[in-house]
Symmetry: C2
Subunit: 202 residues, 2 copies
């Protein structure tokens, strides 16, 4: 989710770091499955992890993509089971933080509790922004919205972290539609495409 990533994620308190255990994952590896006991929260050191669900015909729906520095499964801290699958999108290393010490820390460290609430609130805002995006009816509106909300700088520049295919799915489109839409917007002079970059022109 691009700039959704907490840019300067609050450093883990020492008390938490003491409990974190590194987990090395290969691309495609399962971190946890939906329905299993929610025993830990994770943080991405390197690589990327996707939270996903599956439609009835088996197609994947990406709920969230966590990148370097991002926590994931934070929303499962007070749930008994994970509500989606977590799959490594790329090889990397994670911090695995068991739920119990984290809960304890939330009880005992007010500053951490506040930072944690802020983290969740940020996630919520980002997810609502995505929700708003999917409520838009046309492909070009969704692209515009993506740049407007997640882009940086005057031209609302977006760095693509993966293939356009993935972006298409995040926008609720097929790759073909996205290609055509980007091409049309570029032809209209609204958009500019660079190496792994999208930005507004004008």
């Amino acid at each position: 989710m691009g700039p959704t990533s907490t840019p300067s994620a609050s450093p883990l308190p020492d008390a938490l770091l003491a409990h974190a255990r590194p987990v090395v994952v290969r691309a495609g590896e399962v971190v946890f499955r939906r329905g299993t006991a929610a025993a830990a929260v994770y943080r991405v050191r390197t690589g990327a992890v996707r939270l996903l669900r599956h439609g009835r015909d088996g197609e994947e729906i990406v709920l969230h993509e966590a990148r370097r520095g991002d926590f994931f499964a934070e929303a499962s801290l007070d749930a008994t089971r994970y509500h989606c699958d977590a799959i490594a999108a790329a090889a990397g290393e994670l911090d695995r933080i068991p739920a119990e010490p984290l809960r304890r820390l939330l009880r005992t460290d007010p500053d951490f509790a506040r930072a944690w609430a802020a983290l969740l609130a940020r996630q919520l805002r980002a997810t609502r922004a995505r929700l708003e995006r999917l409520s838009l009816r046309t492909a070009s509106e969704r692209v515009r919205h993506l740049l407007s909300t997640d882009g940086v700088g005057p031209a609302c520049e977006i760095r693509l972290h993966g293939p356009l295919k993935d972006l298409a799915r995040e926008l609720g489109l097929t790759q073909e539609s996205l290609y055509r839409t980007l091409a049309r917007m570029a032809a209209e002079g609204v958009l500019e495409r660079g190496e792994g970059v999208l930005r507004f022109r004008r």
Copy 2:
């Protein structure tokens, strides 16, 4: 958002109640506007409040609907400005809880901080469920998903809180599409419609 509503929202601690001020709203009244300073969090006593944004052509996008017992603008507690409009969907009464005492309480009351984090996490899960729903391509899949995730009981019963028109927008559909889809699903024997109720058959 129906069952998204915190069913047994944690009772407000006395320390917080002391700071809450009642606000009476008429239907359609503006509670706050996007861009204004985020000075308070709210809780619905009676009535309902919608958080919404506007597309480029002015159409409304409902990000959230808070009902009796629900907080809203919780995600703005650590933001400087509101990121959407809040409009009363029905006449009612709200508790207005200034941000500062709430932040103080988060720092000083570990139990409350934990309950607050749980609240945000619940919101996040609910919003992701809605995101997943909007990722589905067909109208009938979205209806199915709504019943599956928000429905109660073996038949996944859903109580409608407003006109079908509103439900349609929550599902990212037009009223006409929704009517037709419900009619078709009912004809196929998948769905059953009652007075303000939707449920699965079979």
